[in-house]
């Protein structure tokens, strides 16, 4: 039995206009064109999308998924980036 050498693609679908493309899963396909067609048949059988992106999985560069990853440490101590850092008297309107 021969093993298929079709590469793995990750699939991103825009649910409707105004929304971001969101990762929905993956599939195997021989090339980009077929990946798109397979993605349509697999992930949008019930009008789940208006636009699809497919990208070969090995073209994705990812951070480590751990929430405690030091990669995300630089933003951890910068509380002054959030609006709640600033105390403003309650009677100041529209702020």
């Amino acid at each position: 039995m021969t093993r298929s050498s079709w590469p793995l693609y990750e699939v991103f679908v825009r649910g409707k206009r105004g929304l971001n493309h969101v990762h929905v899963g993956s599939l195997h396909a021989p090339d980009d064109e077929m990946a798109l067609r397979n993605a349509r048949d697999l992930y949008t059988r019930r009008n789940e999308g208006v636009s699809i992106w497919v990208v070969k999985a090995d073209h994705i560069t990812a951070s480590s998924p751990d929430e405690k990853d030091p990669f995300f440490a630089p933003s951890g101590d910068k509380v002054y980036r959030h609006p709640t850092f600033y105390s403003i008297p309650e009677d100041v309107p529209h702020l």
Partner: protein, 307 residues
């Protein structure tokens, strides 16, 4: 050790484990086995009903059945994709299936001799599958949980089309009603077996519950399914083939008769009515499709070289 504590913390806090997180080998192996079996079940499950696509009684029924069987293929693919995030290889999983080294749900080893079977599969078999699958939407492994959310949304159409089909037949001729009752008689017990062996004999349950892969025991889910099915059967006007099936007010559940576990184990071990046929059909489809997969891969290589 730190990694293991972190894994346990994530699971205990009901957070999701994601593909590149550290996880115990046993957790990974259990998931690959469970997700692969689940994927195989969806793919093999296309056969009993696929049998009726060309003979469904109207264009409407053919279109519905075709969409349903296509959904099963889709569910298989969502699940194979989830298994691949754990390092499994889809082609290898398919090989294990066609070589009989990996199992699928025994329910698909029963035949579908009449069109009423299509309705009863939708109502009871998909109904039991939904009972099993809804809690899996909260299973601890992220990609599996997300695949199950998609699957559950689509299964709801499957169950409803089955029940509607049966309601239509029940309002037909006496012969049609008899056909529905016959199908119910054949599928009721195998449907109860879909939840797996009783808790006392289920070897994987305890660890799977600790890891929050499973959230309810086999017997809990089976009871839930019985309680759901009884009023549906009444409404439909069929009799569930179990003289011991009665409401137990004290427990707030239905009591039901003893399941024939010797039949369950016989079918699991390969001696059901259709085991050989199902696997042989899958192997043939896979082998017959090899030239298409090869040709498409070759075409892609050629285009890449030309570019």
């Amino acid at each position: 050790m730190d990694l293991e504590r972190e894994f346990e913390r994530v699971v205990a806090a009901d957070h999701r484990v994601e593909p590149r997180d550290w996880m115990p080998d046993g957790y990974r192996a259990t998931l690959v086995r469970q997700i692969a079996q689940h994927a195989h079940s969806e793919i093999i499950g296309m056969q009993p009903e696929g049998n009726w696509i060309s003979r469904a009684p109207s264009l409407r029924r053919k279109a519905i059945l075709l969409a349903k069987v296509q959904d099963e293929a889709g569910h298989g693919l969502y699940l194979y994709a989830a298994a691949e995030t754990l390092g499994a290889d889809r082609a290898e999983l398919t090989e294990r299936l066609v070589e009989g080294r990996q199992k699928y749900s025994s329910i698909f080893n029963y035949p579908t001799p009449t069109y009423a079977d299509v309705g009863v599969i939708g109502w009871l078999v998909d109904g039991a599958a939904i009972c099993n699958q809804v809690p899996l939407c909260r299973t601890s492994y992220g990609p599996y949980a997300r695949a199950m959310i998609r699957v559950c949304k689509e299964e709801s159409f499957h169950q409803r089309q089955g029940y509607e089909l049966l309601m239509t037949m029940m309002s037909g001729t006496r012969q049609q009603r008899a056909m529905v009752q016959d199908a119910v008689d054949r599928w009721w017990w195998p449907s109860l077996m879909m939840f797996g062996p009783p808790d006392a004999e289920s070897s994987n349950t305890e660890q799977s519950m600790l890891w929050r892969i499973k959230r309810h025991t086999n017997d809990e889910l089976r009871q839930r399914f019985v309680d759901m099915s009884v009023p549906q059967a009444e409404k439909l006007g069929v009799t569930l083939p179990d003289p011991d099936l009665v409401w137990n007010a004290e427990r707030g559940h239905h009591d039901f008769g003893e399941i024939d576990w010797s039949e369950f184990w016989r079918v699991v071990k390969g001696d059901g009515p259709c085991n050989q046929q199902r696997v042989a059909h899958r192997r043939r489809a896979h082998e017959d499709g090899a030239w298409v997969r090869d040709a498409a891969a070759e075409y892609a290589r050629k285009k890449e070289r030309a570019a």
